[in-house]
Symmetry: C2
Amino acid sequence: MKAIASAPAKIILAGEHFVVYGEPAIVMAIDCYAKVSVKDRNDNVIHIASNLGFSGSFKGNRFQPDHGGLGAHKILEPIRIASQTALKELKEESGLNIVIKSEIPVAAGLGSSGALAVATVAAVGKFFGVNFTKEKIVNLSFEAERFVHGKPSGIDQAISTNGGIIVYKKNQGITPIKVKKKIPLIIGNTGELRSTGDLVKAVKIKRDRFPKIIDPLIKTAGHLTTKAIKTLKSGDLTKFGELMNINHGLLSAIGVSNKTLDNFVHVAIEAGALGAKLTGAGGGGCMIALSPLKKRKKIAKAIKNAGGTPIISSKVDEGVKSWIQK
Amino acid sequence: MKAIASAPAKIILAGEHFVVYGEPAIVMAIDCYAKVSVKDRNDNVIHIASNLGFSGSFKGNRFQPDHGGLGAHKILEPIRIASQTALKELKEESGLNIVIKSEIPVAAGLGSSGALAVATVAAVGKFFGVNFTKEKIVNLSFEAERFVHGKPSGIDQAISTNGGIIVYKKNQGITPIKVKKKIPLIIGNTGELRSTGDLVKAVKIKRDRFPKIIDPLIKTAGHLTTKAIKTLKSGDLTKFGELMNINHGLLSAIGVSNKTLDNFVHVAIEAGALGAKLTGAGGGGCMIALSPLKKRKKIAKAIKNAGGTPIISSKVDEGVKSWIQK
């Protein structure tokens, strides 16, 4: 027998970067999943195999790669941390065979590592007969995210655990909001890798150089996100699309868009999107286009023709789930 | 003998669109010229020939095209208005042969019609032995600009007449500012025609829909232009370039950029521009890149490779000038 858990990826609908300066951000779980299966072993080895081509064994802190060489450590270590944090919570001392099957592009701002950590914690709990509470899953996956991100906001674990849409504000934490509409998106992955930390730093430098411009711009972005929350609740997707376009411009103004993202945004709108914006840190990574259901294929094709990898996607209201497979 | 006058084109360095809502704009004369030559005729016909392929005769208000069909009327009528306004001021009743040689792309936001009106007025004056004052030239070219733009701000005639750099603010008029640096630019013409009026209207609609977002955004743009004025005076072109990039993002946020403009902005920066932005109404027309002198060819080539027409250009401190040719 084995335990399996799956957890959704996330996108940021509004407010990225400005959230660092105390403005709200809107985060949504999408139907793109990381799946983790867990079973025990007779030894105390944690063996992890990922569909990304990395696998290896952890004996205590020592890592032995099977595939992917020593680069595998960086990829698999957060899974080890998540599984061992869960084992410790359960007061279990077993070895584990962990198999990862993730649909979520890595390092693209879609919360791949958060979803993996959450699914790992939930699967380990399930295997040993425990359904961790959502709060517990969020907390137990924190250490793994700290390994990946340094100072994680906690937002990725929260959305992968809870699903749906949440509003995050620094020092005020997380507030789920109810949105009835489906929120159909096309995600456009540029495939361009970027460092979130570097982009956050670049914005800070710009703000330090031009406080009289960037500070009111950040406030403006805050007003936009507040309006976007109301608009989402009302279900007016046309208006929400317009707000996405303005939001993308504000992100361009602080210097975090790039040529590819701007191009994908324009081709998506030309193909019928209600609005489009980069999502996450920018400088590469992904953009999202709000798509009328009938235009999804056309928009996806436009992004593909522009050199991107489109993912047809929607809000998912359920977060992590786990089950036993005999 | 004939009289010749030449007047420079203009670009907007900062503040377009936001100027409609009372914020300042910075306008600069560039070394790209409209040249008009004038001599008298024995009849009372005004014949106008333009290097754009239009020519025709005005007898009173009746127009007879030679080239360009009836479409020539719209192009040549403002020249007729400018010349007859000048004749009236001079209390002359002669017919005129007017020949236009303009380097300024038409309907691209570079103030082609303003420069033509100014040069026409100055040339007509010169022919009849009068050096109009600058103030007089601005006033006499107003009627022609009203024909073209409906409600002109007066800024295009002012900059073509005076040269240099001016700051314009609604209800406060025009203030020349002294800038020692050369301000080397590459202008990238998209060749995409757009209606300034439609774009101004679209921004107004956005503001009416989202006043709590667009109003502070406009104020932010005002702070930016104020900072840009100080930065220009100080001669810090690196900083001015950064402000151009932020300005372009704010213009994107109000929806007046487009795919081509964004692309030109990115390729110019990749090729070494200190900053880049759309200039004028947007939605097509032109962008400008602030270019270190050594990078001018590279940036011009990048814009050309991206499908644009580059114009290598700089600030010019002298405005309209006129002379007699025997």
